[in-house]
Each structure stands twice: as structure tokens, then as C-alpha cells.
Symmetry: D2
Subunit: 340 residues, 4 copies
């Protein structure tokens, strides 16, 4: 059976990656593609890499243009999904790559986004305990943020196993595509090549409450999170370096990860002594994870690498779609990275 | 029907890319993987991006280890294919990614490679007139060099249409993976990031006689070629900027390209005014082509972009394999690039 | 004796580089710094790398704010220099980094810039025969374009020595800073990293008539130029690969280069067999040059590397200023690149 | 007065940067340049960026070849400095860029380096309390490691002011030149471009005990350090993201930094809200520092950026040399970065 799929926000980086994956998906037929400032232009002008779709046109984003599809992906700026989703029927599977429906806490939402809370949808991180079950047969999916995907996979097994004190320190490096396609001087190639720099330091990044939510849920208690994102000179990829103090008596952590990821098709716990790299997951839906226990500092250091646009956005979205539609979870999704 | 495939040289960049493509190919079962200095190691140590094959072991390259497969890909240093191929049966499809069987002229081979000429095999550039036919049912394929793939696609339509004087000037930029995986100081990241530099200037690059061969065949007369390769600060991709003086009276060139590529699944002649970029073809088997006629200089300038490891090596190899095996030519091959 | 210097356009990339060089110049006192959209902001916000000037403020660009300095550098968009320069006194040395006063041919100017021709000033490429003399005591300097600087240094010795047919084919790769600091999607880091692409193909780039002017002057006859610029994934640097057919009987070209550059402090003719790289000239005022005669194609291939912002703009400007002010030509200018 | 200076290890990245700085130093005459595998070659072959020294030859590293200079810089692999220094007279200023004389604890040395401890020399980080005084008139200097330079500048003011609990979590990204010039596959451009990856995770990096030493000295108590270095896709630069829990009652931290760096010429405490970037310090001896107090996590997050080869090695070495020789501390050292 083939599902008709529309993509709202097809001119952006997330939208382009969704289309790249859908074009290789055997049970999907790509329907309407929408955009805002690029509406009316051929897709090939804004996504020249999508040769297989080069005859498609972008139309204006609206509930009308998106109606009539089995699945609608929303790759829109934060705050635009709620109204649009409300006008799409309950039988349509709506997969929101924005932040609108990720946070359970209205207070956290309002603090970080400054607008009324729209609600909560099943969370599209199937590897997190409970999430896969909630995704089956749902017609609404909130795709996680890219940083939360990387960080949660790196830390939840240890928190869930009770190995860690409830505080986490996270420094993550992201490729520039995470900042989107809007033209800004600080994102020019001239500015970012050869440069590492932090942003949102001190707790200000909007993914912070999502990290707190995920890690606290895993730990079963409130976890404080110090999160510092940095911009790295590469187009794609997130490397998340995460640490937390281990509880007294804890001297072994690996077993918790082996158990958590034993049957996960898209998480690769690396052999001991080998460490993740963003290049190894480029274009794939795989997360690489590794950890070490630093006995000197009594901290677990867990590191994960994902492609922010694939596992961190579009791939995670398609993986969750597969579950919701009752398809094999791995259908159409690449497990191998494009390297070197 | 499924074909058993072995890969010799699976530890290198070309070998890794062949495996990435084969792993997504629906009619292929991946068999023996061989290497030399990495023999005995798990594939995952040298190709950590190939998560779907992480339990595979590398064995020593030999005719014995490669025997018994329907198809054998050779991704070996130049000069090693001939002997190995001679010991593989005639019923095995041998796809050589090295240079050994590309050149028709023994003299040109000996001048550029300094060893006896091994022979000529059907040439794996299906888009070149005559090649597709020669590939059907063959059991030996010489995969073109990466630069010749890019340059030939950019220029052969105009030469074949008789539009150009028989001289070509080519400056091509390649990503560093074209130089292979052997550790050399001049290829260190510290040396190549932020740097453009030429090499093999003045006619010395080994792909020069292959360019002469292809362009002369298209033109029906001897074409002289000035070829300057440059190393660009990116892992993958070739951008070939090619020009030749147009014959008197020629003021239109596009029609020749439209005709040449009308039915080609893996060549995308871009809409007028849009130019190829290597990022748009990353990881895909697509070549982007565009051209302009410079009336001031009376030269055609034709530009192509490919991924040197995909269309330029592994993808071209699999495309030719598909033809030789009677499979659909596009089977298992990505048409969409991983961008940004 | 110390000269007071103002910089108009201090918020851009060229302006920032001018300031970096002037801050290390022993006979210069940096005065007014102007900008347009950044006027009123501290320099440190837009040029955070200029630690030694972090307490400076940007003021609005105007003849009034620039008046009263011995030297005024103009690093403004094309077309803004003429009016401003007209309002600066004849005793002020005006160094224009824009294109307004580079071209001798009003027709060429109007074709490529679409506005009335402003005139011609002494040309700030001291290495070109006749230029150094014209710069002494001048109070107006037209700084060459970055591509013309690289290309002219690569080719003029051979043209001046009568070795070449009057046609040149040039493919040059430039770092992204050459495209300026204005925010544009196609210049985002996400778009340019990992990517090579051409632009202005077919004779359309505005530096083409300047190339024709310089090479024709050197050759003593009209030279046709095929010029293809490409954008390379690096912040700085130009690698110009230039070729032309050698005249019959010409089998040696190096002597012409040795003679031309024997006493040039900022041109380094490399030892035979070694080739320029942009990394080797990063941040320096040096041009590296090398050439080879391709007997197969009967073409000279000459390659040069410069830093587009240093020798290609700000360094060439300061070098010419030194000459005009009667200072040692090399004063305050770096000869060594920042590598790796 | 001019000082004769020799450089041992002039063929490496640190040696090249030392030479770039010395070539611009007004009170230095560059003497013997030594190397090992490159001995006998012209410097220009291995450091083509050093145009001003292109006629120099490399000679074999030995006490004899280094004798007779006022100053000798050692840029050698760890473990080679001690013997060589012992054979240079006490009146020679020996500036060791290796690790041999940095650690006070013989036990820490032996644990991390596996060889007998050679001793302790005055530590070349003038900004650290007590160091500048110890450097005056010394004839032996231990240049700090690149990571310890960045991290110590980011954290010592807060530790010295008693604001922090004695535990630090550090994640630092380094450009590839920090790994040196020896050819290794994992450092190839093909491997590192587009890639972030960690190494030495869990306390294994050799700079860890130096971090413990510096931060503990500042705090006046033993500080535990969790240090994770990561390799970033850029040739130069370190971005150190450092955090520690603030003591109860601490709600303000900036004053400690303002006091610590008020008179420091090479540390730039950025205006509030602006964050360091490695590009802004490229090629300069400046460290940029900024911090924020995360009240949610009750942690100070302090970030510094340096050029690992300049302030992190060669620039710090020359700065300390200036102090030891009684020269102005900033003499010959660039404060402005090469950006973009």
C-alpha cells in the first residue's frame, strides 16, 4: 500500500532532507510541496540536489494545499504548526518537525518560546522507553529537536539505570544547517569556516527544557542540565559530549547501554575504544554512541554523533511515520553514512 | 534473482563507497570483502560509516578469496588488477575500478604508467555513444577515471556534434578522497583545509591520455588536451571547467547537449542560467552539466559536477554492472544528493 | 613621519583587512572609521578579530567624516567612490579598493557596470611594468580587482616577452570572502562548505575587462580572455590557473618570469616542481607563481596563489600607498603566510 | 640589542609558527634552524609560507648545531627536550614547547608519559598569578600545552576568587594542527573535513594533569577535572567550553574576570553578550574569554578561544621570551586575528 505524502516547508534544509528520504521510500508517493517565499518556483531551484523531483513546483503553504494526503510533514518555523495542524483532519498523520508539541510543561514552553502552549503530541524518539508504543497508530507526531535526539540517546540509558547523579553537563557541536537557510551574516561561509563558537550559553537555548524533560523522565527525578551548543565548521552533524557524576559505588556503565540498544536498528553502540564521528553518520539515520567512566573525575562521559538533518530531524520523522503507519520501522531509511 | 558480489580493496575510499551502494541494492548479496594491510580486521574499524555491515571481516585479497562470486569489484592500486582478473573465471563479472584496462593505446599506457599494457575492456561510461551497447552481457568492465567521467560528460556532446576545434582546456577541482586513503603529509587536514593547489600540471596527470581518448573518439579527430587538476578543500566532488574554441559560424550549442542527455537518467542538464555544484551531487550517481558560449573569447565553456566516489567511481561501476547483468540501469543507485 | 589614515567601509571584509594591516604599520595612525548600516556601533562588534582597535566607533561614511586625513582608503560598493573622492581634497591620498577607476575604456565600463565611466587613476599593481612609476607621488590610486591581481601576475611576464598567442583561458577559484559580507543564502556556510561551483561563466564577470586590459597592455596587442571564476570552500585565497597557446618555436618560458620577478619583494616564483597553494599565502602580501609548458597541448600553464583580501585588496592597497607616500614599499606588510 | 635565536624542530607546525613570529620580531635575528627527517632540505620545501626565509637550510638537530645562540626554541616531540637542554649552556635561554618541564608532580608525569620526570621550569603563562614574575630573567621556560592555555585562562579567575566548587568539566574543540604534521590516516583531510570526533575521553589526555595543576593552584585546593578534547574540521584554533558548579550564594562572576584581565594585553574579555570564536584569534596571540552564570544548573560556563599554534604555543613562547629577556612583553606579537 502506498501513502500520499505532502511536505510543508519543502524549501528549507529539513524539508529537503525529508524529500530526499521520501524519494527513496518504497511505500510513499510524494504529493504537494509547499513553501512561503519560494512558492511558485520550481523545487529544482531551491533543492538542486533532488534530481528525481526536478519537475516539481512549490505552492503556497496552506491547509487547503496540504489537504487530501495520508501524511503531512510540517517543516516550518516554530509556532506555525499548531494552527495548520488544527485544520488538517484527524485521519491525516501530521508529523511536526517544529517544536510546538514537544514540551509537556506549559510553563517551560512559555518561558522559552514566549507564546501560549499548543499541547503535547506523541514524541518521535522511538528509542526512548515508552515512545515507540505511543507512536503506533497515532495521527500526530512531535519530532524531537536535533540536540535532544543526540543528547538523549547518549545519556538516557545511564539515567534510566540509576547510575548518575541528577545533573548533566552537555557541550554539543552542530553543523551549520541546524541554523536553517535564512540568510544571516554570522552564518556566511566566510564567518563559519575555520571557526568554532558557542551560542545560547548559560541555559538560554530552546532545546534546554526538552533535554530536562527527557533526562528527568529517564531518571525518574528532576535532572538539572547545563547545555552549551557550539557552531562547528561543517554543514551537517551533531557531536554531543555529555557527562554526569556517577553515583557512589558505580564503576561500570556499559551494560546499561548494551541493554538499551540491543535491538535498536538505528543506534550503534561502538566497540570499546572507538568513538563516534559526525562524518560516519552523514546522511544516515544512525546514531553512534560510546561512553567512558572517568574514575579521576567520577563522571560518566557519553558521546553521540548524529546527522542533525537525518536522525536529528527528517530521518527520525520518517522512522516515526513508519511506526505510526504500521510499516517496518527501518523502511526506506539509510543505515550507512556517506563517508569520507 | 540475487547476485553474489565480492569487493577487493574494501578498506579504501572507493571500496567503501562500492559497499555503501551495494548495501542498498535490491539484487545483490554482499560476499567476501578483501584488503591487504587491513586484512583480518573487522570492516567496522576501517569503514565505521557502514553500520549495516559492521559484523563483516576483511580477508586477504587473492583470487582464491574472491572466487565463487557472480561479480567481483576491484578497487585496487593501479597495476594489480590484471593478474588478479586473469585468475577469475570468464563467467565472473569483473568490474575494475583501476586504470589497467581503460586505455586503448599501449604507447599511452606505457608512457603514463611505465609498465606493459594489460589490454582494453569495455568502458564503463554508459552515456558515451557506443559504451552502453558494449557493456551488455560483458564480463569485464573498465570503470573510467573520476576526472574523465566528469570531463567527458561536459564535452563529448559538443565534440560529437562537430561544434568545437580539436583542442580542450580543462581545469578541474577535486575533493581529497580522490587521492586515496594512504597517509601522506600533503593530504593532512591541516594542509588541505583552506587551501587550493594544482598538481600534475603541464600534461603529467595520468588521466590525460584517457581524456584524449574519449574526446578524440567523440570528435572523430585527434583532440589535444590541456588538463590541470587542482586539490580542493572538500572530501568529495569534482567540478570540471572545460572549454574549447567553437568552430566558425557556431553560435548555439545547447541543442547538442539536450539531445545527448535527453534520456540519460544520471545526467542532469541544468536549466539555463543555473550552474553545477559539487554539493548538489554529494553521494549521488548524478552528473550535473551546464554550458555557455562566450562570444568574446569564441569558446564554449562547459561545466560538470560529480561525486568522484559515486558517479566518478563506485556509482558508475554499479551502473555498468546493472547493464552487464541485464538489470534496470538505475537499480539501487541514488539520484538525489545529500545537501546541504 | 606618521600619516593619519581614515578607512571608509571599515565594517566589510576588505575594510577589516585594511585595518589589520594598518594597525601593524609603523608610519600610520588610524583615524576615522566609517560604515553605513553599522554606523554608530563599536568596531569590535563587526570586526571582533581587531583586538587592538576594540575601543573604536564606526561613524557614518561621508566626505566630512573622512576629511582631514593624509590618506583615505575607500572600501565601498562599486559606484560609490567617485562622488566621495571628488569631495576629498587633491592633497589627500585616496586609495580606492572599488572598481570605479580601474578601467581605461569607458565602453568596457559601461558594458559591465551600466553606469557612466568615472575616469582612470594610477593602477595599484606595482609589479606590472610602468605601474610603480605612476604610483610615485600620486594622490589617487585604483586598487586592482582580486582576480586581476592573481591572473596578471601569472601571465604578464610571458605576454610581455612575446611568448604567447593572444588568447588566454583562465579558471580561478576564490574563497568566499571575495563575495563580501552581505547576507545571501548562496553564501551560507551550509551552502559553500563541501562545494565548488562556477559563476559568471561565459564572459560575464566584471573582472573580465580588467583582465583584457592588463594582458593586452602586456602583450602589446588585443588579447581575448575566457575567464571562469569558481567559488571554493575556504574563506580566503585565490588560485588562478591560466593558460595560453605558446607561439611556434617557444620551448622555454621560465626565464621571462625570473626576469620579471627578480627584484619583486611580494612575488615568489617557486622553485621548479613546486606549485602555489592558497594556504601558503594566507594573510600575507605575497603572490606565489609557477608555470609549466605543456608540449602536448602546446600551452603555457601558469598558476598563481594570493590571499584575495591581502595581496588581492588590502595589502596591494597598502603597498601602493607606501609607494605614493615615498615610504619603503614593503613597510608594515607581511611576507609570511599563516599556515597551516 | 638583537638576540640570536635558533629553532629546533623548524619543520613542524609549531616550529613554523615560531619562525613566522620571530621573522616579524624587531629584536631577533634568526640563526640555525634544525630538523630531523627534513635535515638538509631547504626550509622553503617544508614551510613554503615563510617567504622571507626561503633561502634557509634545515640542519640536523643537535646540541652542537644549536650552540652559540642567545635563545633556543625547542619544538620537539615530548621527551627529547631534557637531554638537549642539558647540553645547552646556562646562559642560553631555552624555551621548551614540549611537555617535559611543565608538570610539578613526578607521579603525574610518570602516569601520563611513562618515563622519568625531567624536572620543572618556570611556566610560560604570564597571565597566571606568579608566572610573570618567575619568568623574568629565567633561562629556562616551559611553554604550556595548548589546551591548558585555553582552559586556564577561562577558569583561573573564578577559581582564584573562590567562586567555584573544586570540580571542572571541560570540552574543548581543537583544529587539526594540534595533532602535528606526521602523516596519519585519521588526520587526512578526507577524514577530518565535515567531522567532529572526540579522543582521549575519560581522563586519558596528557594535558589533563596540567589542567589539574593549574586549576588547583588557582583554587588553593585540589580540583578534579573532566576533560574531553574533540577534533574539529579546521586547521587551527581551540574553543574551550569550561564549567564548574558555583558555590552557594554566588550570583555574580564577571568582576573576578575583569580584575584578572584588566591589564593583560593578550586576553580580551569580551563585552557582555558576545562570545569567543576561533576565527577571531587566527594567527594572533590573543585569547578571547567570556562567561555566563547558568542559574538553572548553578554552573559557571566560561569559554575561551585561542589559536593553538600562536597563543597556544609559539606566541605564548615568544611572549615569555620577551619577559625573560627584559623586552616589552608584546614586542613583535600580533594582537589582531586574520579574519574572515
Amino acid at each position: 500500500m502506498t501513502f500520499g505524502v505532502a511536505v510543508a516547508g519543502a524549501s528549507g534544509y529539513a524539508g529537503g532532507e525529508i524529500l530526499r528520504l521520501l524519494a527513496a521510500h518504497p511505500e510513499v508517493e510524494i504529493g504537494t510541496l509547499t513553501a512561503h517565499s519560494s512558492a511558485g518556483r520550481p523545487l529544482s531551484e531551491v533543492q538542486p540536489q533532488l534530481g528525481s523531483l526536478h519537475n516539481r513546483l512549490l505552492v503556497e503553504t496552506s491547509a487547503d494545499s496540504l489537504a487530501g494526503h495520508d501524511v503531512v510533514f510540517l517543516a516550518l518555523p516554530h509556532g506555525q504548526s499548531a494552527e495548520l495542524a488544527g485544520r488538517l483532519g484527524d485521519s491525516t498523520l501530521v508529523v511536526d518537525c517544529g517544536a510546538d508539541f514537544r514540551l509537556r510543561s506549559p510553563a517551560a514552553w512559555e518561558t522559552f518560546y514566549g507564546s501560549p502552549h499548543a499541547g503535547v503530541w506523541p514524541y518521535g524518539l522511538p528509542e526512548l522507553p515508552g515512545c515507540r508504543e505511543a507512536l503506533r497508530n497515532t495521527r500526530r507526531i512531535a519530532v524531537p529537536g536535533c540536540y535532544p535526539t543526540a543528547v538523549t540517546l547518549a545519556l538516557f540509558p545511564a539515567f534510566a539505570a540509576g547510575l548518575l547523579e541528577p545533573e548533566a553537563v552537555i557541550v554539543a557541536a552542530s553543523g551549520t544547517s541546524g541554523a536553517g537557510r535564512a540568510a544571516r551574516t554570522r552564518l556566511l561561509g566566510s564567518e563559519v569556516m575555520g571557526s568554532m563558537s558557542p551560542y545560547g550559553v548559560g541555559g538560554g537555548h530552546r532545546h534546554t527544557p526538552e533535554l530536562v524533560q527527557n533526562l528527568s523522565a529517564a531518571a525518574g527525578e528532576a535532572v538539572t542540565v547545563s547545555f552549551t551548543p557550539t557552531l562547528a565548521p561543517m554543514p551537517r552533524g551533531i557531536l554531543a559530549t555529555c557527562s554526569a557524576r556517577v553515583r557512589e559505588g558505580v564503576h561500570e556503565v556499559r551494560a546499561a547501554y548494551e541493554k538499551a540498544f540491543a535491538d535498536e536498528p538505528f543506534v550503534r553502540l561502538l566497540p570499546e575504544g572507538r568513538w563516534p564521528s559526525t562524518s560516519a553518520v552523514l546522511g544516515s539515520n544512525t546514531a553512534q554512541v560510546q561512553m567512558a567512566l572517568d574514575e579521576g573525575a567520577r563522571r560518566l562521559v557519553a558521546v553521540s554523533a548524529i546527522d542533525n538533518l537525518t536522525k536529528g530531524t527528517a530521518g527520525g520523522a520518517v522512522q516515526s511515520m513508519n511506526i505510526a503507519l504500521g510499516l517496518p520501522e527501518t523502511l526506506g531509511l539509510p543505515m550507512n553514512g556517506v563517508a569520507p
